[in-house]
């Protein structure tokens, strides 16, 4: 059997032999280097791309079920046809839905009703568009937000329909460039509210200034009011005038967030909520989002993405492997004499196989190591130049490296066998 020492000196010999033709070995390794590098880099980019989406979904809460009011499409079309007449539609979730969900669906921890209204907020001469969210005191328990200053809405605010509000920090910064927002009074739709707290929504990428300018109004310009206050001050009917049309929409609640006690309840609760709502709503004027399902979908998409990217990269690894095999075959021909001599001096077939296999593996593993280094550097460069999120996972490194090793073995076997099966006499005679 091949002893450890013998194996080590075979490895040494392999390295020595490869160093004899540095350029050739280097070029051969390049194939593997690029292959390993692209496996790691592609998976890192794929991972990074899906990470953000997943984080957003996670911020919705994986224990939650989100039910939103949706304007029924039929109604909307009818409304357009009706021309200049004023028309009111009534749709969406109701307070009764909240109560029904809470009392009938098993595993419900909390049900959070929300009203969402687009308005303009004013503090002296500064007026900004904002999103009014009428909600209850336990909103922070369901939606991930950070309390920055002051307090959130309390139960007493709700009971006494207090004119208090909580602002998101980004809105407050623009509304109060020179004041401490706390205890200031702001005006929304003619009514004054006292600012009692500042919060930051966690799923809001605050570090990106560009989103604050254009599309930030939906996410960051939130004004939280007690639900009862919201109902009392704004009413349930919203009237919109566009040209000669006057449209009114009557919506009790825009969104209901159902928090389940546990992950395990989420999937059973989803169809139950669906069935329950369909009993009481003639039209499907609501939509149900299950973040857990979205998360699973995102994960499935990610997996698919990884497979696609991974196989593209794997193909380049295989091409690299074929390159190695090619060179090794040329090597065998070139070194036929040496093989003959080794056989004459007592080398067995398997010694020759080991020798050539070791050389191939040294090539591919060497290429693999360099590839890992380059592959780890590439995503970092990509991130620093394009700002794209990349995540290098340990398993992609392990995968790429072990594939490179395996390629050395797989693509080394044929040349090694070719070398070993040479007839020693012929090999010795070879010029």
């Amino acid at each position: 059997m091949v002893s450890y020492q013998q194996f080590m000196s075979t490895v040494q010999l392999g390295i020595k032999t490869l160093l004899l033709h540095k350029l050739r070995s280097g070029l051969t390794m390049l194939g593997i280097i690029f292959g390993v590098c692209s496996v790691i880099a592609m998976l890192a980019i794929g991972e990074g791309a899906s990470y953000e989406a997943q984080e957003r979904i996670k911020a919705l809460g994986s224990n939650n079920i989100i039910v939103r009011s949706v304007k029924p499409p039929d109604e909307a079309r009818e409304q357009n046809n009706s021309g200049g007449r004023s028309r009111g539609i009534r749709y969406g979730l109701t307070y009764d839905d909240t109560a029904r969900i809470y009392s009938t669906i098993p595993g419900v921890e909390r049900v959070l009703p929300m009203r969402l209204i687009r308005e303009r907020i004013r503090f002296f001469e500064i007026e900004l568009p904002c999103q009014v969210i009428g909600t209850l005191s336990f909103y922070p328990d369901i939606v991930s937000i950070d309390l920055i200053k002051g307090r959130f809405l309390s139960h007493m605010d709700e009971v006494y329909k207090q004119n208090v509000c909580v602002l998101t920090t980004s809105l407050a910064q623009r509304l109060f460039p020179y004041h401490d927002p706390l205890e200031q009074t702001i005006k929304i739709a003619g009514v004054y509210y006292r600012v009692v707290g500042l919060v930051r929504e966690i799923n809001t990428p605050n570090e990106r200034p560009q989103s604050g300018e254009s599309e930030g109004e939906t996410l960051e310009n939130n004004v939280y009011l007690p639900l009862a206050t919201c109902k009392a001050r704004f009413g349930e009917t919203l009237i919109k005038r566009t040209g000669n049309q006057v449209n009114s929409e009557t919506v009790q609640l825009h969104e209901i967030r159902v928090q389940m006690k546990d992950h395990s309840f989420v999937e059973s609760a989803d169809p139950q909520v669906r069935t329950m709502l369909s009993r009481f709503h003639k039209d499907v004027d609501y939509e149900i989002t299950v973040p857990l399902q979205l998360l699973r979908q995102a994960e499935a998409t990610k997996r698919m993405f990884n497979i696609v990217l991974g196989s593209i990269a794997a193909i380049s690894l295989i091409v690299g492997g074929i390159g190695i095999m090619n060179i090794m075959l040329a090597n065998v021909t070139e070194r036929t004499r040496e093989i003959g001599v080794r056989r004459a001096l007592g080398g067995k077939k398997r010694d020759i196989i080991t020798q050539f296999l070791v050389e191939t593996v040294v090539l591919s593993v060497g290429g693999g190591l360099v590839g890992v280094v380059v592959g780890v550097i590439t995503p970092i460069l990509v991130t620093s130049t394009t700002g794209m999120n990349t995540i290098i996972t340990w398993w992609s490194v392990a995968l790429a490296f072990s594939i490179s090793g395996a390629i050395g073995v797989v693509f080394g076997i044929y040349p090694a066998n070719a070398a070993a099966s040479l007839d020693p006499i012929e090999a010795l005679r070879h010029e």
Binding site: S9, K16, G340, V341, R342, A344, L345, K349, D351
Partner: protein, 227 residues
């Protein structure tokens, strides 16, 4: 497959080579001397017949066992030296021991000793391409000795050398024989064969004739003693 015409390279050859003998095999090309050499060197197996080497019939051995026999019992000296280019002098000498599973550390002393014996004690770390033909052949001789073989097979050992270095190499081989090594030398050069105790002339796959050479004491004196 059926088209292959069976050629008898050797037919009815019966020779004995005794320990300590110096035998030269001569013959024109096509006489079967290469086949003879391959058989003696355990590189090839006879289709029929037997070959006893050191008390073992190696004629029908498996490939691996043959490799083993070659590695342990035979020392090869080739016309074109056949050193391994990427190895140093010392490593080249060690190759047969390597295939017997011995590490460089174990065989270092022996390899150095042999390198000194062939006069290359100063060039242990040189590579073959840094040596002259004569020096390379001496490395090959040292290599053929490293496994303490039963028989040293030399295939035209001076064929690639100029006459002066050729002489030196032949002297070295003589010296080995004087130390009790069995030498079988294949050559077509009469002058080279002169040095052997016995010359086997091959012709058309047969042993044509054998001649016994006797060296006079005078001739023995000519052998340059290196040590």
């Amino acid at each position: 497959m059926g088209d292959d015409i069976e050629v008898m390279a050797l037919d009815g050859v019966d020779i004995d080579i005794h320990q300590g003998e110096y035998v030269a095999i001569m013959g024109p090309s096509g006489s079967g001397k290469s086949t003879m050499l391959n058989l003696l060197g355990c590189l090839d197996r006879p289709t029929a017949g037997s070959y006893w080497l050191g008390g073992e019939d190696v004629a029908q051995m498996e490939d691996d066992s043959l490799s083993d026999v070659r590695g342990r019992r035979i020392g090869f000296i080739f016309q074109s030296y056949n050193l391994i280019a990427q190895l140093t002098v010392l490593e080249n000498i060690q190759v047969p021991l390597f295939y017997q599973g011995k590490s460089m550390a174990e065989s270092y002393d022996r390899c150095v000793e042999l390198a000194q014996l062939v006069g290359l004690g100063e060039r242990l770390t040189h590579r073959p391409n840094q040596l002259s033909g004569g020096q390379q052949q001496r490395v090959a001789i040292a290599r053929s000795l490293v496994n303490d073989p039963l028989m040293i097979l030399a295939d035209e050992p001076t064929g690639n050398l100029d006459s002066k270095t050729g002489l030196e190499v032949l002297d070295l081989i003589d010296e080995l024989n004087d130390d009790g090594k069995t030498i079988v030398l294949v050559t077509h050069d009469n002058y080279v064969a002169e040095r052997a105790h016995r010359v086997i002339h091959m012709k058309d796959g047969h042993v044509d004739r054998e001649e016994i050479k006797r060296r006079t004491g005078e001739e023995r004196q000519k052998v340059y003693k290196r040590r």
